[in-house]
């Protein structure tokens, strides 16, 4: 599994946000994109996942395993994404959230339930199936959100500053957990952050995005 962005240029009206950004993420590796806020890091992820905001124009290609998915709708790309907020669906239980994410190729109520239980056990949250997500702690919610993405069997993972909202102690643990889980599944992972600690932990290539004015 690989993820590649080729010659991505993003602009808002006449203003060019990103020019000609290319990167390749091999299987099981984490590429970190860094830069100050407003530089277009999150827009790059939005472009990769196919959810660029209206008013933005983009050129360039998104490749998954060498296949061009630039024209595919977001839900057909197989690109999972984790945001700064867990974004658990508040009207569903923990199990409901995970079952919503779990890939449809796994059939049968019992098998699907078993997969959910196994995922919760892996996330060190055994037996929380029937809980209301609003009653979980921040760290627990973050892990449920991660398991929800992994259960959907993505072919690449995007991380949009997913550790920013957690306090320091929790951040280290969750970061380690996410990176290990992504590596264990050989997922190409693209991490966007402004925390140098994240980049060090990711232990992969780092791409620095500079504001347009500073770019030549």
């Amino acid at each position: 599994m690989t993820l590649a962005l080729e010659a991505v240029t993003l602009s808002v009206g006449p203003r060019t946000l990103l020019r000609n950004v290319s990167l390749a993420v091999p299987s099981g590796e984490v590429v970190t994109v860094m830069g100050p806020s407003g530089v277009g890091k999150s827009s790059l992820l939005a472009f990769a996942s196919g959810a660029l905001a209206g008013g933005m124009t983009a050129t360039g290609r998104v490749l998954i395993d060498g296949r061009d998915v630039t024209r595919e709708p977001p839900h057909r790309r197989g690109i999972g994404i984790l945001f700064q907020d867990d974004l658990l669906f508040p009207h569903m239980s923990v199990a409901g959230n995970l079952l919503f994410g779990l890939h449809p190729s796994l059939r049968g109520r019992t098998a699907r339930r078993a997969a959910i239980s196994a995922a919760l056990a892996e996330a060190e949250l055994p037996g929380l199936e029937h809980r209301d997500p609003a009653t979980l702690s921040g760290g627990q919610r973050a892990r449920v959100a991660l398991m929800r993405v992994l259960l959907s069997r993505p072919r690449a993972l995007l991380l949009d500053e997913p550790f920013g909202r957690l306090d320091a102690a929790l951040r280290d643990r969750f970061r380690g957990f996410v990176l290990a889980a992504a590596r264990a599944r050989n997922l190409p992972t693209l991490l966007v952050t402004h925390d140098p600690e994240d980049a060090r932990a990711a232990a992969g290539p780092v791409i620095e995005l500079a504001p347009p004015a500073a770019r030549v």
Binding site: A46, G54, G55, P73, P74, H75, P90, A134, V149
Partner: protein, 556 residues
């Protein structure tokens, strides 16, 4: 379906208005082949001008319309300013819901039962204070000056404008400006006039315009509380339309057009006043004068709130009394005998079912159109710009100016009196309210939820069904309740589209208010008021129940 939603939504409103207006304008100038008008002429206008009492009807229309709008806006503003005190805020919020939910006609009938010469107020004061043992010969309702009509309109428009003010305040964070002004030593009332009102006025302009247009062209309240010889212009036009002599259709169309012209002039006047007021405000804000503590104004506002509460609660209470009254002679304060016969009157069953059926159908259609439009907005990331102002068109164009024409269209299409005609004509008025109340919560929904779901492989349809709609359940039901309440209150659309063959509680209440049985009239008005209340209750209780195990849903 979704890409077409905005077109469908606008067409659902604009086709009846556009075609209806055209079918009013042409006969107003003599063109209506079906009734023998084959050549353009000014005869309809000459006939209209020759109608007895036209001048007085026009004066009455303008007088009551302007008075009701001015008074409603002034009182609503005063209540909003005074509501900075917690005690006042409690009174205001307690007032708002029941007054808003009660349809115009029901409120007008209740007010009539309250202030009529034989009404509850006279009974409460007689004979010990007034010495009356029979109802006095006073014109306290349907008075020639239209005072009762104006009061009846204010009773409904004050809460409407107050709600609009509170919504605008919440959006503009204008209260922060008031705190800044207060820190600079400005009194609360002056601070409001100089820094808060200018900030919220852009959001208030259309609601105030809607109130002005409604007050100038209202029919049901004018039939119940307004004078009858001559009546207001809108009622006069309605009588012309309903005349057995079909030739009267021509001057009726001319009259409807005249009313539309008066409303347009009124709206123009409002924009002019806005300019002048802005100048005066700017000049006043440069004098540096701070204004007083405003305790007298606060006290006056409190009195206004109490009067409003007494009239509103009194109107509803007297409806309840009459609906359960057996024998009730003047000047007894309470009925001598009680009876539930009015509630069992078979003549109410048909109108009740019609009101529910039409209301539900129009509301569901409106919700569907509005939700699809907002979903399209969310997906494309684009917002309609100025075309949104078109949403207010059904509230600004006088109903009678296009409903008669729309009915002509329906007759030609052989649809008049049918379910489609009724639902469509209700939809025109339900849509704006449903869309406006649904838009803010829908746009406030975190778009990353949909992105997260798409990242999990959920198709747009699945995201809509499993994520967006469940999360929007509360706003959907709230908007639905508003839409249903609007539909339950509509009088003219049923009258015209129903072709006189379909009665709803609104038309029944108005019919019964003129010389029908008071008990059945009261029961019918109360039923009309209860339906929206039930809808609001359902809109609050149902999502609370479905989300009873989901604490996070309280934040949605």
């Amino acid at each position: 379906m979704i890409p077409l939603a905005p077109v469908l939504l606008l067409a659902a409103m604009l086709v009846p208005i556009g075609a209806g207006l055209a079918a009013t304008v042409l006969p107003a100038f003599g063109w209506l082949p079906a009734l023998g008008g084959h050549a353009p002429s000014l005869q309809p206008w000459r006939d209209l001008l020759a109608s007895p009492g036209l001048g007085r009807a026009v004066a009455l229309t303008i007088g009551t319309g302007l008075a009701a709008t001015t008074a409603s806006f002034a009182v609503a503003l005063a209540l909003a300013v005074a509501a900075r005190r917690p005690a006042m805020a409690r009174v205001v919020t307690a007032l708002l819901a029941p007054l808003l939910a009660t349809p115009h006609a029901a409120m007008a009938i209740g007010l009539g039962f309250l202030i009529a010469p034989s009404g509850w107020l006279a009974r409460l004061l007689s004979p010990w204070l007034t010495g009356w043992s029979t109802p006095p010969d006073l014109a306290t309702v349907q008075d020639p000056w239209g005072i009762a009509l104006t009061v009846g309109l204010c009773l409904k428009e004050i809460p409407y404008l107050l709600l609009a003010i509170l919504a605008a305040l919440a959006q503009a964070d204008a209260m922060a400006a008031r705190r800044v002004a207060a820190a600079l030593g400005y009194g609360p009332w002056r601070a409001w006039a100089l820094v808060v009102l200018p900030r919220i006025w852009p959001q208030m302009r259309l609601p105030v315009m809607a109130v002005l247009a409604f007050s100038l062209s209202v029919v049901d309240v004018a039939l119940i509380l307004g004078p009858s010889a001559p009546p207001t212009l809108a009622v006069m036009v309605l009588r012309l339309f309903a005349d057995a002599d079909l030739a009267r259709w021509f001057p009726a169309c001319a009259g409807a057009l005249l009313l539309a012209g008066i409303v347009a002039a009124g709206l123009g006047l409002l924009l002019l006043i806005e300019r002048v007021a802005a100048r005066i405000g700017t000049a006043a804000s440069r004098t540096g004068r701070r204004g007083g503590t405003g305790s007298a104004a606060d006290a006056a506002s409190m009195c206004a709130a109490i009067l409003l509460a007494l009239l509103g609660a009194g109107a509803l209470a007297v409806l309840a009394l009459w609906s359960f009254a057996g024998a009730w002679r003047f000047p007894d304060v309470l009925p001598a005998r009680w009876s539930a016969a009015a509630w069992q009157a078979p003549m109410l069953r048909g109108p009740l079912l019609a009101t529910i059926g039409i209301g539900l159908a129009a509301t569901i259609l409106a919700l569907l159109l509005a939700a699809l439009c907002l979903e399209r907005e969310q997906r494309t990331g684009t917002r309609p710009g100025r075309s949104l102002a078109l949403l207010y068109l059904p509230l600004l164009v006088p109903q009678i100016a296009f409903l008669s024409g729309f009915q002509q269209m329906l007759v030609r299409a052989n649809l008049d009196g049918g379910a489609l005609a009724l639902v469509w004509s209700h939809l025109v008025f339900v849509l704006p309210y449903v869309f406006l109340s649904l838009a803010d919560p829908w746009r406030a929904l975190d778009p990353r939820l949909a992105r997260a779901a798409a990242g999990l492989g959920a198709s747009p349809a699945r995201v809509l069904l499993r994520i967006t709609l469940p999360l929007m359940l509360r706003p959907l039901l709230a908007a639905g309740a508003v839409g249903f309440a609007v539909s339950a209150g509509l009088y003219l659309p049923t009258l015209f589209a129903g072709a006189g063959r379909v009665a709803t509680l609104a038309t029944e209440a108005v019919t019964l208010s003129s010389g029908g049985d008071r008990r059945i009239g009261a029961a019918s008005a109360l039923l009309q008021a209860m339906l929206p209340l039930l809808a609001y209750a359902a809109a609050i209780l149902l999502p609370a129940w479905t989300a009873r195990h989901r604490r996070g849903m309280a934040l949605q």
